[in-house]
């Protein structure tokens, strides 16, 4: 489980794990060293400041030390911000630029289910072996304007998928927040009633993936599940 290793998530996670370990080990080592070395040996230990009630104790500070532990974390944070900025461009900014040939679908969320609409036509050739595992009742072609057949999503492999997220509002339904979330690809975006939001990803491996709802939407929030089948050749 968890995001596939070709996603941007893992490239960032490695960096973040590394730096977290560095900061964590440094801090805890320093903490345990200080606890052991400066514990009270006998009650008559002398410490530089006598703390007497009602008297503001002698201030102690060391400008160079304080500047270092202000500057060093700032440099680390700026470096990490720089990387975070990159990930923002690939996750949120690039996909919305219209020029690429994206495979457009619309994910429509309603109270406790999903509808998938296709806006591009692809023909998936049947003999690539792994197709037999999926029950695609209307055979293998995904027709422009087709609606999800059995409540599941069929996507081509190795194409930039651009999903428009809307909430069903045909008067009867209660428009609330939902968010399609596919853990294996590490992507999610809220479907907000009234505005259209976008989510995009390029699946690189065929297979069946789970789709959860990640924004609390009422009683059966945990039942809003769907399967995403990535079919076709991953050339």
């Amino acid at each position: 489980m968890g995001p596939a290793d070709y996603t941007i998530f893992w490239s960032l996670m490695k960096t973040w794990n590394f730096w977290s370990l560095v900061v964590g080990i440094f801090t805890f080592a320093l903490l345990f060293y200080l606890i052991i070395r400066f514990r009270q040996i006998s009650p008559k230990d002398e410490t530089p400041e006598k703390l007497t009630p009602g008297v503001f104790p002698k201030e102690r500070d060391n400008l160079t030390l304080e500047l270092t532990w202000f500057i060093v974390p700032t440099i680390l944070v700026l470096y990490l911000t720089f990387i975070a900025w990159q990930s923002m461009i690939t996750v949120w900014v690039d996909p919305y630029s219209e020029d690429e040939d994206t495979f457009d679908i619309t994910i429509e969320a309603y109270q406790w289910g999903w509808n998938f609409y296709y806006h591009d036509e692809i023909l998936i050739v049947n003999e690539t072996g792994n197709l037999s595992t999926f029950a695609t009742p209307t055979g293998t072609e995904v027709i422009d304007g087709a609606v999800s057949i059995d409540g599941n999503l069929y996507l081509p492999c190795n194409r930039l998928i651009k999903a428009k997220l809307v909430t069903l509002n045909d008067g009867g339904e209660l428009p609330v927040l939902h968010a399609p979330f596919i853990p294996e690809w590490g992507i999610k975006e809220d479907a907000v009633p009234g505005i259209e939001t976008y989510m995009s990803f390029t699946p690189k491996e065929t297979g069946t993936y789970d789709l959860f709802c990640a924004e609390y939407c009422g009683q059966q929030h945990s039942k809003m599940l769907a399967k995403v089948h990535v079919v076709g050749a991953c050339g």
Binding site: W85, S87, T90
Partner: protein
């Protein structure tokens, strides 16, 4: 209560027989009349908004400085009254001006793509 001890308030009282609060009251009445009048001149959108905002600020200043006698009181009180406006400005930038339609119209240099394009290729 600021019994006209400061210079110009004393002369105002001697000359006109009415103290600064009366004149502040008249000042505010006049500006309210201007405000309502401005709307009836049916100016263009920009001019009307400019008129309304400027009269609003002037009346705000009138009430805060004289009726709430911030003019006479210690400067710390003016700082106390001004302090939350910093957070109101933050609230305005974060919530008021970033409605779904609002942010779309930003100039190119302020959008992430432009800032992003400066950086070397993605890791």
């Amino acid at each position: 209560m600021g019994e006209h001890q400061t210079g110009w308030q004393k002369t105002l009282y001697e000359k006109t027989g009415q103290d600064v609060y009366f004149w502040n009251f008249v000042f505010l009445m006049v500006f309210t009349a201007i405000e309502v009048g401005a709307v009836y001149l049916s100016l263009t959108y920009g001019a009307t908004v400019f008129a309304l905002v400027s009269v609003g600020i002037v009346k705000f200043f009138g009430i805060a400085a004289f009726f709430m006698h911030l003019w006479d009181d210690e400067r710390e009180l003016t700082y106390t009254f001004a302090c939350p406006f910093i957070f109101v400005v933050i609230l305005f930038i974060g919530i008021a001006f970033t409605s779904p339609g609002g942010v779309a119209g930003l100039p190119a240099w302020c959008s992430p793509e432009f800032i992003g394009s400066y950086s070397p290729t993605a890791p």
